[in-house]
């Protein structure tokens, strides 16, 4: 195993050269492994694997957590720790039956335990397997801080959000470049009296239409979702659809967008309405992975982290049946691995942080919570 890892990445040798002599052999394997089939099994829990930087640019233009993006910039590499929750979901994804309705996997856990990173890990797996990834980085962004709200051209009772829709379409185009010229639309879409998209035109054209004509971008998003939903799993199509939503509890919560001093219900927003339709498991040939997040959510108590608390009655009934995957704080082994990684990257500069006493202090201060540990180590 060790040899395979060395062979796969050439600068792994330089990593081993950099490692200090007091690291034991088993911990040396905590560094870099690129191939997935080799590196995604139970024995690899606690070890880090590197995401290629090209993938980061295309797959996660805005999907990674802010602090993690800063870390990637500082360390000049993106390493994710292999942990139990994401391994579990990846094993289920490997076994998906494409003729059955899409299964829903939900990451839940307390604040800062690594739900978004687990989601990104699973999404990266889908990407490397050649699936089409429909990633919504944060559903909460669509229900708050909306600068422009237009009445929808398609349905008079709903509202459009052109800015958010165009941003999302741009990211979608960046991520799924190769599918845009392969998938063809099955319906005809009329945007205005003179503009329309014919049946059988490429998905890429549809997306470009949305980006150039900002006013109808929300409807384009709806059309894209509908097309992908209808075509995935059908005998003629050759792609699998992975829908990844972060902060899925925002879809069924409340919103702070106000239209003429009246609060807008999320259901009246086109983007949310279409996304909710996508989350139903009435389509086949893929999977839906989501996380719950209290951090961005509106009008929820800070201590809420269990699915029913955050999703509410309606959300739970819509998502039911789903497979909840709990994301806990680091275990002993994972904590050790994280500390070793920081030491290897020379992030922990304080001399006492390398001692046993220092490690015990870190355990006490952070309670083995990944984000707390990250913040504390930033000062050392």
């Amino acid at each position: 195993m060790l040899h395979k890892c060395v062979a796969l990445k050439s600068d792994a040798l330089t990593e081993f050269g950099v490692c200090s002599k007091d690291l034991s052999v088993s911990i040396l394997m905590s560094l870099t492994c690129v191939s997935f089939q080799a590196c995604h099994s139970e024995t690899h829990i606690g070890q880090y694997y590197t995401l290629p930087s090209a993938h980061i640019r295309t797959l996660f233009p805005s999907g990674l957590p802010w602090r993690y993006q800063q870390q990637v910039k500082t360390f000049n590499e993106a390493c994710i720790m292999v942990r139990q929750p994401s391994l579990e979901v990846i094993s289920y994804l490997k076994k998906t039956d494409y003729s059955k309705p899409a299964l829903r996997y939900l990451f839940y856990g307390q604040k800062g335990t690594g739900k978004t990173i687990s989601l990104c890990h699973a999404v990266h797996f889908c990407y490397t397997q050649g699936w089409l990834v429909l990633h919504i980085p944060d559903a909460h962004q669509w229900v708050k801080n909306c600068k422009e709200l237009l009445p929808s051209s398609y349905n008079a009772s709903r509202f459009d959000q052109p800015l958010q829709a165009t941003t999302w379409l741009r990211n979608f185009r960046l991520t799924n470049e190769r599918f845009l010229s392969k998938i063809k639309t099955k319906h005809r879409y009329m945007w205005t009296k003179r503009e329309f998209t014919e049946e059988g035109s490429l998905l890429g054209e549809l997306v470009d239409q949305g980006i150039s004509r900002v006013k109808s971008s929300s409807d384009v998003v709806g059309a894209v979702m509908k097309e992908l939903r209808l075509q995935s799993g059908q005998p003629g199509s050759d792609f699998h659809l992975a829908v990844a939503v972060d902060g899925v509890n925002g879809l069924w919560g409340r919103s702070t967008i106000k239209k003429e001093d009246k609060s807008v219900d999320p259901e009246e927003l086109t983007l949310i309405y279409n996304l909710r339709k996508l989350m139903r498991n009435d389509w086949t040939g893929g999977a839906i992975i989501a996380t719950l997040s209290q951090t961005g959510s509106l009008y929820t108590p800070k201590s809420a982290y269990l699915p029913q608390e955050l999703l509410g009655e309606r959300g739970f009934d819509s998502m039911d049946p789903f497979i909840p995957v709990s994301v806990p704080n680091y275990s002993e082994k994972e904590f050790e691995s994280c500390c070793l990684y920081y030491m290897d990257r020379h992030w922990l500069q304080h001399p006492q942080s390398r001692t046993e006493e220092g490690k015990k202090e870190l355990v006490f201060l952070s309670n083995k919570n990944p984000s707390m540990l990250d913040r504390i180590c930033g000062f050392l």
Partner: protein, 334 residues
């Protein structure tokens, strides 16, 4: 009345103060130390005593050791405090401190501590004193019935419990208006109620019902006499019982939101799972009623139903989430 008396006190106070102020210089002279006696012989300031001699204060006895120092450990405490009495620092052999501490200091000691004297104390009600009271009262008591040995037997024979308080105090009037309050407690399980009656009763009771102990508490204080409040409480209980057995026409409009417990039948969860299972099965079996019944009868669907009911009724926890996860995995054969 009260306001008038307070004004007189205030006025008295105001009258007093100038007097005190007037007295102060002479007062200070009077409370000077004992050395003033021999300060000056032939002092022209002192009044003429007619040849009897200089003014000598009655010699003051030194205060002896307080009683606390002489108390043996096995003394009879009931003799020290036989009845309610204010706190006497010399009689209580405890190192008590009470009061707000000075900055950087500790609470003041018990000697001369007004705070300890102001508060009520129960030094006259130690267990030994209570025992003596019980012994004194025993000749006047009758035997406890032998058939009512345990609490459960008492509940069985006397399910309705009534509580009221008696107040004894010395004052202008012996009556106390708080003595009219009556508390009636009864366990709902001891009443003969069927399912619908029980749910309706709980809805009617609202705040008066405690779910954990299954106890209904009715507190009545609207009438001036205890007898009347007791009658009213019994009347309320009777009316509640009979009303909850009746079914009104408008009760048929009860919606899902009114239900106390979550029932899985006809819930969105059941619809979802049946929908998914039907789609998962190869189309060819048809969509008939018996297919639905067959699906509902499967073991994993029953497990799923139990886990969802548990989640909704009992609230969430890690264990109920795990149970739900296992049930879903089994339904989807993972």
């Amino acid at each position: 009345m009260a306001s008038r008396t307070s004004k007189t006190f205030l006025s008295l106070g105001r009258i007093n103060i100038p007097l005190l102020g007037f007295n102060k210089p002479s007062g200070k002279a009077t409370y000077a130390t004992a050395l003033s006696i021999n300060s000056s012989s032939g002092n022209k300031g002192l009044p003429d005593r007619g040849g009897r001699g200089p003014f000598v204060r009655r010699p003051r006895r030194e205060a002896g050791e307080p009683r606390t120092g002489k108390m043996p450990v096995d003394q009879d405490w009931t003799a020290v405090y036989p009845s309610a009495a204010p706190f006497r620092p010399g009689s209580v052999p405890l190192p008590l401190r009470m009061g707000y501490p000075v900055k950087g200091g500790i609470p003041p000691e018990k000697k001369g501590n007004l705070e300890l004297i102001k508060i009520p104390n129960f030094l006259h009600l130690t267990p030994a004193a209570i025992k003596k009271h019980c012994e004194a009262l025993k000749p006047f008591c009758t035997e406890w019935p032998s058939a009512l040995e345990t609490d459960t037997k008492c509940d069985e024979h006397f399910p309705i419990k009534l509580e009221s308080k008696e107040y004894v105090s010395a004052g202008p009037s012996l009556r106390n208006p708080s003595a009219r309050i009556v508390h009636l407690t009864v366990k709902l399980s001891s009443l003969n109620l069927d399912d619908h009656a029980r749910k309706k009763m709980i809805k009617l009771l609202g705040e008066r019902y405690c779910k954990n102990t299954d106890v209904l508490t009715i507190k009545t204080d609207s009438c001036p006499l205890r007898q009347q409040n007791y009658d009213y409480a019994m009347y309320l209980l009777t009316v509640l019982y009979h009303e909850s057995w009746k079914t009104e026409a408008w009760e048929a409009e009860k919606t899902v939101a009114d239900m106390e417990d979550y029932s899985w039948e006809d819930s969105p969860s059941q619809k979802n799972i049946l929908d998914v299972l039907l789609r998962m099965k190869v189309a060819g079996e048809g969509d008939g009623e018996e297919v639905r019944q067959q699906l509902l009868g499967r073991k994993d669907v029953q497990d799923y139903k139990d886990s969802v009911t548990r989640l909704k009724n009992e609230g969430e926890s890690e264990s109920s989430m795990l149970q739900y996860k296992e049930a879903v995995k089994k339904v989807f054969n993972m």
